[in-house]
C-alpha cells in the first residue's frame, strides 16, 4: 500500500488519449518519427474515428485512475468518414459541459483536431495538456477510490 | 559577463532567432544605409549566429542604422536584422555605463529640418 502520508511522490498525471486512426494517430506517428517528445504518461488508444469514442469510455478512463482524457480527431471537414467528427464535436461539447456542471474540473477533458501532417501540433498539444492536468492535480472527483488503492 | 553570456544576452535582447536566417540577402538589398555600413545587415545576423560579436561591437554600422525597419518588414523568414543591430548597440551603450542622451536635451537641438525618423532613431540609439 503506497504510504500517502510521507512526502508525496511528485505527481505525474495519467492521461488517456483516444486517437482516430486516419488523422491524429498518424499525427502521433509523425511526432514519433520526428522525435518530438511529450511526457510518457500520455497513452494512446487507437479508434477508427473520433466518433467511436463513447462517453462511457471517457468515464471508464476516469474511473480507472486517469487524471485527464483527450480525444483527437481529424479537422472538421477532413474526416475520413465524412461526418464522424461533427458528431464527436457535439457529443463532447455537451458531455464536457455536463461534467463541468457536476463540478468536474473542465481542464481534465479536451478535444483537439490533429491532421496526419501535424506531428508538431500533436506533440505541443500533449505537452500542454499534461502541464494543465499536472497543475490541476490528481483526479479526486470522478474516480473509483477502490481502483486507486486496490491493485 | 563572459563572452558566451554576452552573446546569449544580445540574442535575448534582439528577441529574434538568428538561426532562422536563410542567407537570402533581402535585408541588405533593401537597407537605405547599406553603403555607409562597414558590416552589412545580413552579416550582422550571420556573425551573431556564429558568436563573432567583437567585430560587431566595434562596428560603425550600429550607428548608421536608421531603424527604419525595412529589413524587418521584408525578411521572408521572420528574422529581424534591425533588432540584432539594436541589441548590439544597446550592449555597447550599456558597456559605456552612461546614458548618452536624455529627453530634456533634445528640444534645444531640434529644428524643422531634422526628419522625424532621425529623431526617433537618435533617441533609440543614445538613450539606453
Amino acid at each position: 500500500m503506497q504510504d500517502v502520508t510521507t512526502e508525496k511522490k511528485e505527481f505525474t498525471p495519467n492521461i488517456v488519449a483516444f486517437c482516430c486512426n486516419w488523422c491524429s494517430y498518424a499525427g502521433a506517428d509523425l511526432a514519433g518519427s520526428s522525435r518530438l517528445s511529450y511526457p510518457a504518461n500520455v497513452k494512446i488508444i487507437r479508434v477508427p474515428c473520433s466518433c467511436r469514442v463513447n462517453p462511457t469510455f471517457v468515464l471508464k478512463a476516469f474511473q480507472q485512475g486517469a487524471d485527464g482524457v483527450i480525444l483527437c480527431g481529424c479537422h472538421p471537414g477532413d474526416c475520413h468518414y465524412v461526418t464522424g467528427n461533427y458528431y464527436t464535436r457535439r457529443r463532447m461539447a455537451l458531455l464536457f459541459n455536463f461534467l463541468n456542471y457536476m463540478g468536474i474540473e473542465k481542464e481534465r477533458t479536451r478535444v483537439e483536431w490533429v491532421s496526419a501532417a501535424e506531428g508538431q501540433k500533436f506533440s505541443a498539444v500533449m505537452n500542454d495538456f499534461v502541464k494543465t492536468v499536472t497543475e490541476l492535480g490528481e483526479n479526486k472527483r470522478l474516480t473509483d477510490l477502490r481502483v486507486k488503492e486496490g491493485e | 559577463m563572459t563572452k558566451e553570456e554576452r552573446i546569449d544576452n544580445i540574442k535575448r535582447i534582439s528577441g529574434t532567432d538568428v538561426r532562422k536566417c536563410m542567407k537570402c540577402g533581402k535585408c541588405s538589398g533593401r537597407c537605405p544605409a547599406f553603403k555607409e555600413m562597414d558590416i552589412k545587415p545580413h552579416q550582422f545576423v550571420t556573425m551573431l549566429a556564429k558568436g563573432k560579436i567583437d567585430e560587431l561591437l566595434e562596428s560603425k554600422a550600429i550607428w548608421n542604422c536608421f531603424s527604419c525597419m525595412a529589413c524587418v518588414e521584408r525578411c521572408p523568414r521572420g528574422v529581424a536584422p534591425a533588432a540584432v543591430i539594436e541589441a548590439v548597440r544597446d550592449t555597447v551603450v550599456r558597456m559605456q555605463g552612461k546614458n548618452g542622451l536624455k529627453a530634456e536635451e533634445i528640444p534645444p537641438i531640434v529644428d524643422e529640418l531634422i526628419p522625424q525618423q532621425l529623431l526617433v532613431s537618435a533617441y533609440r540609439k543614445y538613450n539606453k
Binding site: L59, G77, F98, I104, R146 | -
Partner: protein, 325 residues
C-alpha cells in the same frame, strides 16, 4: 375538474362499447384521493374505478409502447406534457401511431401530496380548486392553500400545449404563463465548481439505484438497458462506489439528451427526491444555447440535435469555457 372526469368517462364508455378501441388507458382510484394509478380498462364495468383528479400526474405515453403492439386500437388520455413524449416515441418507432387513439385531456397543473402534507395537512379526503385557491378537505376540517405552492415541480414551470390529438376534452382554458424553467440550472451554473461538486455529491449519494427514474422515463425505454448488458462494460445493479452514482446519472442523462421532453416524471417518482430534472434540463439548456432552440417531441419525425450537425458547430473547448461561470 369533476366535469372533465365525467366527460372522459363518457368518452371511454362510448369508445369501448362501440368497439372502436380494445382498451382505454387512464387512471384508476388508489387507496386515497392522492394516489391514483395508471390503469388499462378493457370493459365498461372496469370503468367504475376510473378517476381523473388533481393528483393524476403520471405520464401515460410510456405504457403505449406495449399497448401499441397488442391487438386492436388503444385509447389514451394524454395531458399536454405527455403528448411530447408520445411524439418522441412515435418518432423512434416505439409506438405505432395508427394503433393509438389520442384523447387530449385538459390539465391545469397537478398537486404534489408531499408538499400539501408539508403544510401540515394530513388524511386528505377531497380537494376543491377556485383558480389560485385550493380548499383541502381532511378529517381535521378544511384548510385553504395557495395553488402554486403545492404544484408538482414539473408543473411549476409548465408552458406545454397539446402537440397531438385525435379528439380533446378541454373545458377550461389555462392562463398563459411566462416562467424561466432554467432558473434552477442557472443558479447551479453560477456556483463555483467546488460548490457544484458538493451539491451533486450530496444529491447523488442519496441514490439507491432503484431505477424508478429509468422505469418511468418514456425516453429511457430500451428493450435491454446498457446497465443490464454485460457486453457494455458498465453493467451494474447497484452503486457500490461514489463513481457509479455519478456514472449512472451522467450516462442516463446523456442517453436521453436531445430526446428528453422535460416531462419531469423522473423527479416526480424519485423516492429520494433527487432533482433529476436539473440534470436533463442542463442538457436541454446547452442544446438550445449551442445549437438553437429545440423542444423534443414537437414533431414525430426528423433528427434530434445529437444525430445532426452543422459544418461550423462550436468547438468543445469554447463551449466549456463559454459556459463555465
Amino acid at each position: 375538474m369533476k366535469d372533465v372526469e365525467l366527460k372522459m368517462l363518457e368518452r371511454a364508455k362510448a369508445l369501448l362499447e362501440s368497439g372502436e378501441v380494445a382498451r382505454v388507458i387512464g387512471w384508476k382510484k388508489g387507496e386515497f384521493i392522492y394516489d391514483p394509478a395508471p390503469a388499462s380498462f378493457e370493459t365498461v364495468d372496469e370503468l367504475k374505478d376510473f378517476v381523473y383528479n388533481w393528483f393524476c400526474g403520471a405520464n401515460l405515453s410510456k405504457y403505449l409502447i406495449q399497448a401499441s403492439k397488442k391487438e386492436g386500437k388503444t385509447a389514451v388520455f394524454l395531458k399536454p406534457c405527455d403528448t411530447y413524449s408520445f411524439n418522441q416515441l412515435v418518432k423512434e418507432h416505439r409506438v405505432k401511431r395508427e394503433n393509438i387513439h389520442v384523447i387530449a385531456v385538459e390539465c391545469l397543473g397537478k398537486f404534489d401530496v408531499a408538499k400539501i402534507k408539508a403544510q401540515g395537512v394530513s388524511s386528505i379526503v377531497d380537494v376543491e380548486v377556485q383558480n389560485k385557491e385550493v380548499k383541502v378537505k381532511s378529517f381535521g376540517g378544511e384548510t385553504v392553500l395557495n395553488k402554486p405552492e403545492i404544484l408538482l415541480t414539473k408543473c411549476e414551470t409548465c408552458q406545454k400545449t397539446h402537440q397531438v390529438k385525435d379528439e380533446e376534452i378541454i373545458l377550461h382554458d389555462r392562463p398563459e404563463r411566462d416562467v424561466n424553467r432554467f432558473a434552477e440550472v442557472e443558479k447551479l451554473e453560477a456556483m463555483t465548481p467546488d460548490e457544484r461538486f458538493a451539491f451533486w455529491r450530496e444529491q447523488l449519494q442519496k441514490c439507491i439505484r432503484c431505477n424508478a427514474c429509468r422505469n418511468v422515463c418514456p425516453a429511457c425505454s430500451c428493450v435491454k438497458c446498457v446497465f443490464d448488458n454485460p457486453a457494455s462494460g458498465i453493467a451494474a445493479k447497484a452503486n457500490d462506489d461514489k463513481f457509479e452514482e455519478q456514472l449512472f446519472h451522467i450516462i442516463r442523462a446523456f442517453h436521453v439528451a436531445g430526446r428528453c421532453t422535460d416531462c419531469g416524471e423522473c423527479s416526480r417518482v424519485c423516492p429520494q427526491n433527487i432533482p433529476l430534472h436539473l440534470l436533463n434540463r442542463k442538457f436541454i439548456k446547452d442544446i438550445d444555447g449551442l445549437y438553437g432552440e429545440y423542444q423534443a417531441g414537437e414533431t414525430d419525425e426528423g433528427k434530434t440535435p445529437l444525430t445532426s450537425y452543422t459544418e461550423n458547430d462550436i468547438e468543445p473547448t469554447d463551449a466549456v469555457n463559454g459556459e463555465a461561470k
